[in-house]
């Protein structure tokens, strides 16, 4: 299979000056968004070989993640081992594939160097959360320092969190300035802006925060930390997808999208890919523009793929854990 790794083909988003008129009149009708989200997966389905291929694609777009208080270097090494070979050999052989990896691994800053070492030579990028993840309520200089730390230790991508209060208060210039500074701190590393949509509550807020983050230079916009009460949902993802479509229409810039948190099943993996294909197009089915932030989803995908090959329902205990 063709080697597709993160971010090789997409020009980085230089951002634009803050443009309030790109979003301040935005109308998002929540029931309408929910209806669209609910029918995405009833209007489209993939079966047999196509289902297998779409699940494999989800793997190559996956930011395999561990973000827990009890993470240790050994835990991260195990995760990286899974990222290097996310599917058992017999499954890979059965599907006629080789060299499959996940899109990235995603860890805390102090574990970046462990991950970088563990993934050496694989081409799998290391993403680090930063900026006082998950709440972000730290002085800005410390948050920027955290980015520099992670980059310094070899992180290719930085998943930042925004100050939710700026969105709730409509303080767009503060939000813009914050993200722009973070983008600068990232240097060559790509910036994924986590909006923590569960905290933003309204879909209009989600759209506006998405637009400001992109204007400030985010390479990706990401739904959630995984720690909010509500994490990635299809309606929220729909609105973010439409925001990045609109940003692209104005600037010609392609921005990536990363749903994260709460997606656990192979079915979820298909649902989000349908959303991407229908609302944005096939470019957003590749890891340079689409990532699934997940941890347990991979195990379910592996089981489904084994079932696809053998016709027997599979047990996770027979697959290597992440």
């Amino acid at each position: 299979m063709p080697e597709i790794h993160a971010l090789p083909n997409i020009a980085r988003n230089p951002g634009v000056p803050l443009q309030l008129d790109w979003f301040d009149q935005i109308a998002v009708n929540t029931p309408a968004a929910e209806r669209r989200a609910a029918t995405l997966t009833t209007r489209r389905t993939v079966k047999k070989e196509w289902q297998a291929a779409w699940l494999v694609n989800a793997v190559r777009c996956m930011d395999l993640t561990t973000l827990a208080g009890d993470d240790t270097p050994e835990r991260v090494r195990r995760l990286c081992a899974k990222a290097r070979s996310p599917l058992a050999d017999h499954i890979l052989d059965g599907l006629g594939l080789a060299g499959l990896t996940t899109g990235a691994v995603c860890v805390y800053p102090t574990l970046v160097s462990t991950a970088v070492k563990a993934l050496d030579g694989t081409g799998v990028p290391v993403a680090s959360v930063a900026t006082g993840f998950p709440a972000g309520l730290m002085p800005l200089n410390l948050r920027l320092a955290e980015i520099l730390y992670a980059v310094d230790h070899g992180a290719d991508e930085i998943d930042i969190v925004i100050t939710r209060a700026h969105v709730l208060d409509g303080n767009w210039s503060a939000l813009y300035d914050e993200v722009a500074e973070m983008r600068e701190a990232c240097g060559a590393a790509h910036l994924k802006a986590i909006l923590a949509t569960g905290d933003l509550k309204t879909l209009r807020n989600v759209y506006k925060a998405s637009m400001v983050a992109m204007q400030a230079g985010a390479d990706f916009i990401k739904t959630s930390t995984g720690k909010e009460g509500v994490n990635a949902t299809l309606p929220v993802s729909l609105v973010m997808a439409r925001a990045l479509r609109d940003y692209g229409a104005r600037t010609g810039q392609k921005i990536g999208f990363k749903p994260a948190g709460g997606m656990k099943t192979a079915k979820d993996a298909i649902a989000w890919q349908i959303l991407m294909k229908e609302e944005l197009g096939d470019d957003w089915l590749k890891p340079d523009l689409f990532r699934l932030g997940a941890s347990s989803m991979l195990a379910d995908i592996e089981r489904q793929l084994e079932h696809h090959l053998t016709g027997r329902y599979a047990a996770s205990s027979r697959h290597a854990i992440a």
Partner: protein
């Protein structure tokens, strides 16, 4: 089959066909279907094929129903009626519940069968049609259970002849059969000839649960079978289909006394304001006109977009159109399936081609259509003039028109610039604007920021030439029930009018000042256009002259009535004040009116005047109390059922009770906000013409009540045939009623021909009059932030 590696390159969806083996096996086993009559399938004589429009393959043969078949079915329904209607509501509820359960247990079977026979995508039959069918039977099991409590004194109509279309075959069956059975009626249903198969499967379900024989009868066939059913000995005809056929049924049933409901065509507006969620609205178009191949009577087929956002909207609509997948209806990833029949496909092609020839530009989804089968690529048309054929005619295919408007007023004007009035969809994030437009648009169903949302708990049905009657909810149940009908009282037929002078004996005393009763139009007394008067004879000879109104007077009166539109927008309280005042002024002239009635020779003049005053009080009381409902439908949806006035109602009054009969019909109509053109008692119009001064002194705005005296049936004919009159009430002879019902077919106005009755008795007033004076508009407002 491509490999996983290859698919990873294209990321196509690939095929995802729904299995049809079970259904094909069933069809093969049956082969040829007879009718379902009296609990058993008949041996088919003449048959015709039912085909899969996606492939052209024959699915089965079904029987062509003859007049004899229809008569046998009606006979079976008639025989079953006493037993079924006398069952306790709970017993009928159990049967309806069993139907609902069995539909649910056969949901995939029915979905696949529907998709095969109709061509609609399996997603729709599976997720929309069949779940709604089950919901409809559950809901109506509930009405059966509560019937006596909720509709006290009501009785079933009797045997119902029901004719349904091919666009939602089983769902339309459910909409017809569920309320009919719940109310205690028995039915003969004719499914459309293109799509008879799910109705036959339904018949097997009836047999499976052991429904008493004759309660449900299914006769298959074409339009001739339908015509036979309309002409058969049924008590009610319920039809859903084209306006053209609806009009023919209106004419055919005129004067037969058969209760009639019609759910007909539409050309529904889909209005997008600049402040709308444009992506939501684009998706709304998908659910409106690119749903069921656009073969939806309530489809938002006229997209009206505010000018400032039109370009953006068109761009997004085109982008969305490009994502639609047209093809195999059984494929789970298909958005647009097959058009039901080659005849329909040819019709769509023809209309769209004519529209293009008249200057419209067609934007159509690109991509390959299946090489065979009835497919039409979805699209929309711009550059559409109001007179373009595609603006006016229901295309009944996946093609909408798109035009622009500048202001909310213009949006309403364009939205209402149609002969139809079935549905409307309004998109705006401004609740004030959205509800204002919802109130102003002439449609039976209005969806705010949504479209094509259905539920058994809400009424569905149209204004204007989209028909009359409602299906669903409490409104729908009423269509299958008769209230306690007051005993008819034969009225004295009016004598022939004589416009020539009538010489009498020379007077011996001083001459009284001559009184002239003119017509009352627009709040002013007008001389009749023809310049003739006719003699009004009391018990002791001529008591005066009345104007001999003609067609032009009716025309003028209707125009005046239209100008008084503010009356319909006044509050119920304001209308009540006027009616109370009217009672007050009538009371002040009690003696005068009593004298007038006495001279006319009415039997109990004082009592009639007193009853008239009470009547004014009663409808004043109702004016701000007869209101609507919030239906329990889907979660996070407010579904408002608002009774609205028709607008202009023509009323031909009985010859009996010249004051009370007149007021008993006019007052409920105006209490609800209608304006009326009334023809008072032909033989004794002076009781009504005496009211002019009462009206003038009661603050009744000019044009709310217009009175044209003269030959009742002649004037009623003009009113019934008037395309700008929304409803017509006629109290008179049977021949007159037949004439009125036949003439009403022109614009399909609602008619009501109440028999003459004892107007001072309980049958002279009540909620029934108010129900007749209003049409229900269901407004859906989904909410959520």
């Amino acid at each position: 089959m491509p490999t996983v590696t290859e698919i990873l390159e294209t990321m196509d969806y690939g095929p995802a066909p729904e299995a049809s083996g079970e259904v094909m096996g069933w069809l093969k086993a049956r082969g040829t279907f007879g009718h379902y009559i009296d609990g058993a399938f008949t041996k088919p004589a003449k048959t015709f094929p039912s085909a899969d429009p996606a492939t052209g393959a024959e699915l089965a043969k079904v029987a062509q129903g003859s007049e004899k078949d229809v008569a046998a079915a009606v006979k079976a329904a008639r025989a079953a009626l006493p037993g079924w209607s006398k069952l306790p509501g709970h017993e009928r509820a159990k049967w309806l519940y069993a139907i609902a359960r069995h539909v649910q247990k056969r949901e995939r079977f029915l979905s696949v069968l529907e998709t095969l026979d109709n061509g609609k995508p399996i997603r729709e039959s599976r997720d929309i049609d069949i779940p709604l069918v089950a919901r409809h039977f559950y809901h109506h099991a509930g009405w059966a259970e509560m019937l006596e409590e909720e509709f006290p004194g009501a009785v079933p109509v009797g045997v119902c002849g029901q004719i349904i279309p091919w666009n939602f075959p089983l769902l339309m069956l459910a909409w017809k059969i569920a309320p009919a059975l719940a109310a205690g009626n028995t039915v003969v249903l004719k499914p459309a000839e293109y799509t008879p198969l799910t109705a036959l499967a339904f018949a097997e379900i009836c047999a499976e649960i052991g429904l008493p024989k004759g309660v449900v009868n299914i006769v298959t066939g074409d339009g001739e079978t339908g015509a036979a059913l309309v002409g058969a000995e049924v008590d009610k005809v319920a039809f859903t289909g084209s306006t053209e056929v609806g009009r023919a049924i209106r004419k055919a049933t005129a004067g037969t006394g058969k209760k009639l409901t019609l759910e007909l065509g539409g050309k529904s507006p889909f209005v997008v304001f600049a402040d709308a969620d444009l992506d939501g609205a684009v998706e709304g178009v998908v659910d409106a006109i690119w749903f069921n191949q656009g073969q939806v009577c309530c489809a938002g087929s006229r997209i009206l977009v505010q000018e400032g956002i039109a370009e953006t909207f068109v761009t997004r609509l085109r982008a969305r159109l490009a994502k639609l997948r047209t093809g195999d209806p059984l494929d789970k990833s298909t958005d647009i399936g097959a058009i039901v029949d080659p005849v329909q496909l040819a019709r769509i092609r023809d209309i769209v081609a004519k529209g293009e020839a008249e200057g419209a530009v067609l934007h159509q989804a690109e991509g390959q259509l299946p090489a065979t089968g009835c497919f039409f690529a979805p699209g929309f048309m711009t550059n559409v003039a109001p007179a373009n054929i595609v603006s006016e005619v229901e295309i009944f295919g996946p093609v909408a028109t798109l035009t622009t408007f500048r202001t909310p007023d213009e949006a309403v004007e364009l939205a209402n610039n149609t002969r139809y009035g079935l549905a409307a969809s309004i998109w705006s994030e401004n609740i004030n604007l959205a509800l204002d437009i919802a109130a102003k648009v002439k449609a039976g169903v209005v969806w705010v920021n949504a479209t094509n949302i259905f539920d058994a708990g809400a009424g569905f049905g149209g204004y204007r030439e989209s028909g009359f009657g409602r299906e669903g909810g409490r409104e729908g149940m009423r269509e299958y029930l008769s209230g306690p009908v007051p005993r008819a009282k034969p009225e004295t037929a009016p004598a022939r009018l004589d416009a020539a002078p009538v010489p009498g004996a020379p007077s011996t005393g001083t001459a009284p000042i001559d009184r002239t009763a003119k017509l009352y139009i627009g709040g002013a007394q007008k001389r009749p256009d023809g310049g003739y008067s006719y003699a009004v004879t009391g018990k002791s000879g001529q008591i005066g002259l009345a104007g001999l109104g003609n067609r032009k007077d009716i025309r003028n009166a209707v125009e005046a009535a239209h100008k008084a539109g503010g009356w319909g927008r006044a509050t119920g309280h304001n209308r009540a004040q006027v009616l109370y005042y009217l009672a007050e002024n009538l009371a002040a002239r009690e003696a005068e009116f009593t004298r007038r009635l006495k001279s006319a020779g009415t039997p109990k003049p004082a009592e009639e005047v007193a009853a008239s005053i009470r009547r004014a009080f009663y409808y004043a009381a109702q004016a701000d109390k007869f209101d609507g409902a919030v239906h329990a439908t889907k979660s996070a949806h407010v579904t408002l059922a608002m009774p609205e006035p028709f607008g202009v109602i023509g009323i031909a009054c009985p010859n009996d009770a010249p004051l009370l009969g007149f007021l008993s019909l006019v007052l409920p109509a105006i209490a609800m906000g209608n304006r009326v053109v009334a023809i008072p008692a032909q033989a004794m119009p002076l009781a009504a013409t005496d009211l002019y001064q009462v009206f003038d002194t009661s603050d009744l705005p000019g044009g709310v009540v217009n009175i044209v005296t003269g030959a009742r049936d002649e004037l009623a004919k003009t009113l019934a045939g008037h395309d700008d009159v929304a409803a017509m009430w006629y109290c008179g002879s049977e021949d007159g009623a037949r004439m009125v019902e036949a003439e009403s077919a022109g614009n399909l106005k609602l008619t009501w021909c109440p028999p003459n009755r004892d107007w001072s008795g309980p049958g002279g007033q009540g909620r029934d009059f108010l129900l007749r004076a209003t049409q229900v508009k269901n407004i859906w407002v989904p909410y959520g932030e």
